[in-house]
Each structure stands twice: as C-alpha cells, then as structure tokens.
Symmetry: C2
Subunit: 360 residues, 2 copies
C-alpha cells in the first residue's frame, strides 16, 4: 500500500464508527496531515451532525493546531451544496488546506465532481480515486440510494446443507450456529431496515431486534398485501412498534390499516402486481422515507420475489452442516441463476456454518 | 512436531505413492534412521508387492548399507502373519533393527498388537501411537474394511446453493466448477469403486472414469434391483465394462443378468428390502470382493438409502454459487440430521464452489 492508500484506509476506519447512525448520508472519515504527521482526525457521527472534514478541521482549531498548508484525506468527495450543514469544500478552502486526497467521487447529483471542481478552482491540489473500489464498496448503501432512490437490498437466509430454511411444519429455530446469529444481529444494527414476508411473521413471530451484539435496532418492514396478519404479533405490539412499517397493496382492509396506524405502526400502500405487492414500487416508497438499506430475512416467497424482480444487490447465505430431508426450499420459485460471473463470490466461516456472500 | 512425528509423517508421504494400487491392503511407508540420518526408505507399491518395511530393508541391502542397530519408522504396525508375503516383523528381527517407531496399531484380527508383541519378544524397543489419529485417518479405507468387512463409503454430490443436484428435466451437467470436477476424478482414482443408482445411469449415462487427472479407473457399481436398465449405456458397453458390477435383487430378470455376464459385467444378487436392494447386504458382498472403498456419486434416492441405513462414513458435498429454483433435491427423503457433532466438519474451496466435508 502507498502512503496515500494507508491514509484513505484510516479514513474508512474512522468512518466505520458512524455505521447505523448516518443514513441516508454516507459514512465518511477524514485525516489531516502536515509535515508527514497526522495532526487531526474526524468522522461523520450521525445524520445531521458535522461532516467528517468539518469535524477534523474543528478539532484542530479547538486544539490550537494550524491546518494551513496541510493535506486533507477523505474517503468521499467533499460536498459542494448546502444540506443539513454548509458545504465542506468551502470549509476546506477557508481553512487554507493545500492539497486534498479523495477516495471516490460522490455520485449524488448535487455533488458528482462539483466538490472537486470547486476545490481546484480555489488553487487546491486534488488527487481523486485512491482505493476507489474499496471506498465505493464501503459506502454501497449510499451509492445505491443516492443514485437510484432505491434502498440497497441484501437477502439473508440461514439454511441447511440441502437448501431448506424450515421443516415441513415451518419450524426454523433449529438451523444456524450462534456465530451466524451474532453476524445477523450485527447486520441488523448496520442496515436501516429488516424486511420479512407475511408467512415469516405468521410462523416465527420474530422481533427482528438487535440482541446478540450492541447496536441500534433497525426499522422492521413487513410485506402483507391484504393485511391478513393478526394484530397480536410482536412487530405490531412490542415497545418498538413505532419502528414497524407494513407494506400493503390497494387490496388491504382500510379499517385494519387505521388500527395499526393508531398504534404508531406506519402503513404504506404499494401498487399491486398479480395479486401481490409490486416490490419495485414498494422499494421506491421505502427509499423516499430515507431508508437506504434493507436486510431481507425471509421467507422463501419473499426471497424469490426480490430475485425474480431483480431487486437484490447482495446475498448472504448461512449454510449449516445439517440435512432436513424435506421442508421449505430456500429459493422456491426463483428462476435458474448462475452467480459464477457475479461481481464477487466469497466464503467465510461462522462457527460450524459456512457463509456464502454474493454481490450481484 | 517432534522428530518421531516428522519421520512418521515422512512414512505417510511415502505411503501416498501407493494410493489406488494397494487395496484392500493398507497404505504403508517406512523410513530407516541410523546415527540421526535417514539411510533407507520404502513403501508398499501395489497389492501383492513387498511390504514397506521389507522394501526399505531390501533397498538398504542392495545399496550396501548396514541397517543393524538402526531405528525403523512405519505408519502402521508391522504384520506378524503369512499373507501374500512373509511377516514383516520377522524381516525386521532378522535385519537386526534395534528400535521400531509405529504410527498406529493394525486392527486386522490377524495382527492387532501381535506384530508389536513379536518385536518386543525379540528385544526390540517399540514406540507405538505416534500421530496415531492421523495414521488411522490416512488408512481409513483399510481400517473400516479390515475390521467390519464393509467398504468405507463416501457420498459425493455436486449441488447448487439451494440444494438441487439436477433441474426438473434431471439435467445436471450445469452444476460444478472444473476445479470440483478435477477433485472428483482424483477421488475416483483413489477409491476402489464408484457407485451410482439406476436413475443416474438413465439420465446421465456416465462413464465414471478418471479423465481430468492421471490415475487408474475405479470399479463401477450400479444399483438396479430389477435390472430394468437397457444394455446400451456406456457402463455396460464401453471397453471398461469388465470393471462394471451390477447389484440386483432376487427380483431381477435372470436372462438379462446372463447377457450382462456374457459381456464381462459382474452381476451380484443382494437381498431385497421393501422392493429395493438391502444395501447392508449388498455392501457385505462388495466387501467380500476386496473392494475396500466406495465413492457414491448419486442420485438423490441412492444418497438417502445410504444415509437412512447409516452406511455412509463420510460426505463430500460440492456447492456451486447457483440457484436452481426447483429441481431434484440432493437428499430427498433423508431423515433430519445434525452434523454439528460429527467427528469432523471442514470446508475447502474448489474454484468458485465450496466443498463441505463431513466425517460421521
């Protein structure tokens, strides 16, 4: 790794601290270097708070350190527009920074090169594209949402060796290792929302909260086109029910929707498609709520819906060394699919399970 | 590793050269050490040839090297009975070897500690049980066959992520990577026989030969309880047909059996069990033919038969990063099974596929 790459990597490491807090903003970290030494560091802590560049500059000022003539490292192009905070490029110019090293461009239409142009116009030397792939990957949620309006969608399943997510009685508690479950809880703490289909609620009555690791709970989205689920499930009655969103179609019972709303549950009506929910329309509506990432946790029909409508960006599949013999097929009804040419296929251990991660 | 362990490991490495050649004998390698130096090495090259200990001693004699007072290392207890060759323990005693270091005991009823006792009786110092687990594992085929009369049985399947070995039209050519296929061909060159069910012959017309690596072809066993398969399949008509064994039950067409036999195909009649073949009886009969290891290559019903009758010792499962959506389930009809407490569960890459290996 070059020195520039090491320092951009440091930015990513700082930015990680904002995971689960900054959405739909990107994760950004910043390092300021003068005479070969790091003189200040900062990161974007939460949505609405100071951006990383301003955070690092403010910290230097507070500590009586002069950043004039210094080089600033940041994993994402500094913004050039007024959002929740003033543009970072202006703050960098004012502070007298001499050179800026950037991981990747910000694809958001209000920035998209304008930040870099503004810095250059003011005589600042700019190097862009250091660890570009890694920086884009790191902000995959933001990249997808800010350019398409749709959330980044990951399908997560825990199955047996023979591709079953539940037995014939729809029981699934039996499957994955505690290491796998801890990974799932960490993912929940990082994704804006977790999504399940109606049957998963019916058979598992899941809480979809973060319990096995420390972290904030995600929004919980349920697909229930006809609002046929009873109102006693945990998602509609526990203390986090105001973080539950139900997606229905035009065919849903309006009275039931009212009851849910009176409890604080959000009800969204998406277009119907062949008696089911038009997932693309549903995801657009979810994207508008500034939910930039969704972890889809089942069941089989929901997985197939996202796969068949080509809405999934990633698959995280835990496979346990067990055989079910018969039961519910993980991808029942999905079309044939060959991921050998997928962007990435990688494997990881999770206790006795194997985790297969595919980026489409 | 201790010095003794390193030298036993060297014995295993030498013994490996006999893979696919020595069955139903064990794989054995031998190293002779004097004054801290290896002065001779040998291994069991093929069934009926010199045993490893005799091979190493003969080589020393031929090279004019005196083994008197030397230490002999061998991964398996030297034999004490007359088989195809005179007992190795006698050859060791005659040669004036002072000390013998042994990997594991030979469990075969005619040896089973008698070799060690004989050496000790003649004043030779014996150390036994160096890398014992590894030595037993290395000769797993021999250990199983020599103690139970049954072959060591490994189920090998290539499936998609969603646990399918073929699509709805029973097509399976689509599944595993070339790296996985090369591993399968290497396994075929090491197992005494490959076994498939009737449907696999019907839908795939496989050759079951070794093509992607160098090595000898295995025996090819077909389960066909009623001899319902036609006679034109490769297994019954290619130039290796004398290495094909068909297992039928008492319900088979005697005339068809005669035709097969006239072509050089061996036909074995096993007991029937609920209209099917009694696999335990079939395996006993195969074991009597000195076939000490079988790689079961499908299909789903055959896998389930071996699993449900608890006849399988090991599972080698290649999973490709593909989704079939619907098709033939790999373990259709197998009972529920949890391998978290299996003797060994390990994973290995095979190109883009993942190999799951479970020892029951």
């Amino acid at each position: 790794m070059t020195n520039d790459e090491l320092l951009i990597w440091r930015c990513i490491d700082l930015a990680r601290n904002g995971k689960g807090q900054v959405s739909p903003n990107p994760l950004v970290g910043c390092v300021i270097v003068k005479n070969g030494k790091i003189i200040s560091e900062g990161y974007h802590k939460k949505y609405g708070a100071l951006h990383a560049e301003a955070d690092a500059i403010e910290k230097a000022v507070k500590n009586g350190i002069n950043v004039k003539g210094a080089t600033l490292y940041v994993n994402l192009e500094p913004c050039s527009h007024y959002g929740k905070t003033p543009p970072c490029s202006d703050r960098i110019i004012e502070a007298g920074i001499k050179k800026v090293v950037i991981g990747c461009k910000d694809p958001y239409k209000l920035v998209n090169g304008k930040g870099i142009a503004r810095l250059r116009k003011h005589g600042i030397k700019v190097v862009a594209g250091v660890l570009e792939y890694e920086c884009r990957e790191f902000n995959k949620f933001f990249m997808k949402h800010s350019t398409s309006g749709l959330p980044y969608i990951t399908l997560k399943a825990a199955q047996t060796l023979d591709g079953k997510i539940a037995d014939e009685k729809f029981k699934s508690k039996w499957i994955s290792s505690k290491e796998s479950r801890a990974i799932v809880h960490r993912l929940r703490s990082e994704y804006d929302a977790v999504l399940v289909g109606k049957n998963t609620v019916k058979y598992d009555n899941p809480k979809l909260t973060v319990r096995l690791v420390k972290g904030r709970d995600p929004y919980r989205i349920v697909l229930d086109s006809k609002l046929s689920l009873g109102l006693d499930y945990d998602l509609f009655s526990d203390k986090l029910k105001s973080k539950t969103i139900v997606i229905t179609s035009t065919k849903a019972d309006k009275k039931k929707a009212k009851i849910l709303e009176s409890r604080g549950v959000m009800v969204i009506c998406a277009k119907a498609a062949i008696g089911k929910i038009d997932l693309k329309d549903a995801m657009k509506k979810i994207g508008k709520l500034n939910i930039a990432s969704i972890l889809v946790e089942g069941g089989a029909k929901t997985f197939s819906g996202f796969l068949n409508q080509e809405l999934a960006d990633e698959l995280i599949l835990f496979t346990a060394p067990k055989i079910m013999g018969s039961g519910v097929n993980t991808f029942e009804g999905s079309g044939k699919r060959d991921f050998n040419n997928a962007k990435e296929v990688y494997y990881q251990f999770a206790g006795n399970d194997i985790l297969t991660n595919i980026k489409f």
